[in-house]
Symmetry: none
Subunit: 190 residues, 4 copies
DNA sequence: AATGAATGAGGATTCATTCAT
DNA sequence: GATGAATGAATCCTCATTCAT
């Protein structure tokens, strides 16, 4: 019956539970009690560790972005330079990004970012990170790496939403589309 | 003195008020009372006309899409064939699409579509309409009009979100970006 | 089943219930639910009519002071000029001022006035009213009516607290004491 | 390294912190955690030492009364017999009695005494002690020392409350008033 | 001696919704 | 057609208190 050092464990459990609940509800209409219950503790403890509902949400968002960043890194680790952009795209359309949980959390994120400064900041970091990753990857192969990265990253977001709402089961279609555009951006150079 | 023919007027007022409230709140966390108050009637009446909160939301979404469609039509009416795709793009990044109200409503839409079938259907209609519009417009100028339309419409959505969260005041930047991509899609053909 | 004009009735019931509950608890540790229940309605309705707990309290305080003022007026109406000061004193130590309810409410008032501006204002009004009443009544019989009124009103408060905490059942003792001091204040003149 | 003899130090710290918190809040709406935090320990330890919240309050009250008694004693030590009553009055209106802390604690006391027997008992002891002090001091100078002491002590309480709520910054006015009444009580004899 | 962990109970407040008029 | 009245259910959050260590 461990009685010390529970904090990180509890926080971790709560974050996971939050993502799960948001996924199940499809929106931010989730109660702290639900989250706490799923995490196996009282709602009072959830408040104790996070201070409030919004902060639990923000922590969940942070986690989602971290997980996504890890996914990208992992994908990048497996490929050589010429294909780095493709690797990023593949990470964006990995099956793990299309679980109901993740979809909900991601959509929900856009809404949260409208009113919560921390969430907005998180989103901006994610966004600039992915853009800089793409810029870097495109430098050897595209004439205007910066512009191409902007195009690609916006395209990815748009395709993601469409796939999430239309065909969450077959993200490969969207992936293929993005890869095709990537090719065209490369060709444009030669 | 019971007024007659009030129904459409009341509904109209409620829909407008809903959009305004969503815009003010930045989310769907809006109470029926707030909406009704802004619309100048009792919340009971709002229920009477719409049956429930979700249905008010759906009506508001319907209105947003209708307004947007009108905007596109208006823009299209002013241009000749070769520029129809550009006109659509311009409509998508018109200032009226970047008022806080509209941004919130639009973002919120994605969330609502996750749980509300009617909302999802509405979104799909909007989406296929814009895609078919683009396909049609691109037919004379692009090699693969369908694919190019898909690319463009996804790109528009992605750029819209990014502009909305980053630079709601200068949507022209995003518009220019989209137009540039449109050009490249045309060039690709020749 | 009357369905209109309930507001004053409900407010009245709530104010009465609040005083009763404060009396029963002996402090402000009273829940809105308790009050509402005693008043025969849901706590939601109590909030609807008063806006919040503190405002219910303030309304109760206002009522207590109004009742007290009425008591003083009634007592004054029965006596001739030379005895008006004595009448005020008798009103202050009337049995109705020593019901547990009233005692609690009055004590509690002092505490509320520490943090709630409205309550403080109410108390100041009560205080200056009673002082001016006393001054007026003492003018014909005391050398320094103003000073004597100050003395008497402070004495009354002090005796009230002592009687309330020591002998709530026999306020006459305190009354007699105050009347004796009143006499000595008069004698001082002759 | 378990410290020894910490108990009195901890209790002392808690009592001080309680008075400070009550002063800051202006009421008994103070949490044990706040008190414990201010006292530099965990709330669990506060419970360990006092057993519960009310007992912490009672201890604080006890301390307030003890401090006050010490103040009176100190003042008395500086004067000769004929002025002992005046000395008591001066002690009652010393600046230290009008810090927000002390005022709040004192007011609050009246409320606590309504429901807590120990608090009531404490108040009665304080009250009879001050009365006997006054009686003793007035014996050589007033015709009815007992009655005069009763008058004075009630007057002091009344003036205290009024000063506390109206002019906490200038208690001297109230003091002067009480001293004037004292004089008149003396004169009455000669 | 001392505390972090944990919770159950409760409390103010909100809100969608219903109903009688 | 329109609304004030009314509420039950829920939600976030707080807090005194207990316990294992």
């Amino acid at each position: 019956m461990p009685k010390i050092g529970m904090e990180p464990i509890r926080r971790e459990a709560l974050v996971k539970a939050t993502i799960a609940e948001i996924g199940a509800a499809g929106s931010l209409d989730v109660t702290v009690s639900q989250i706490a219950k799923r995490a196996g503790m009282s709602s009072a403890l959830a408040h104790h560790y996070f201070g409030g509902k919004e902060q639990i949400f923000v922590a969940a968002m942070r986690r989602i972005l971290a997980d996504f960043a890890a996914e990208v890194r992992a994908e990048l680790a497996t490929v050589q330079m010429p294909d780095r952009a493709a690797a990023i795209i593949r990470a964006c359309f990995a099956p793990s990004c299309f679980t109901p949980q993740t979809i909900s959390a991601w959509m929900t994120f856009y809404v949260l970012a409208q009113t919560n400064d921390q969430a907005l900041r998180l989103w901006r970091i994610y966004q600039s990170r992915i853009r800089s990753n793409l810029t870097h990857a495109l430098r050897p192969v595209a004439r205007d790496p910066q512009g191409a990265a902007n195009t690609l990253s916006a395209l990815i977001d748009g395709l993601y939403i469409r796939a999430a709402l239309n065909n969450p089961d077959t993200p490969e279609i969207a992936a293929r589309h993005a890869l095709a555009v990537l090719d065209s951006l490369k060709e444009a150079q030669s």
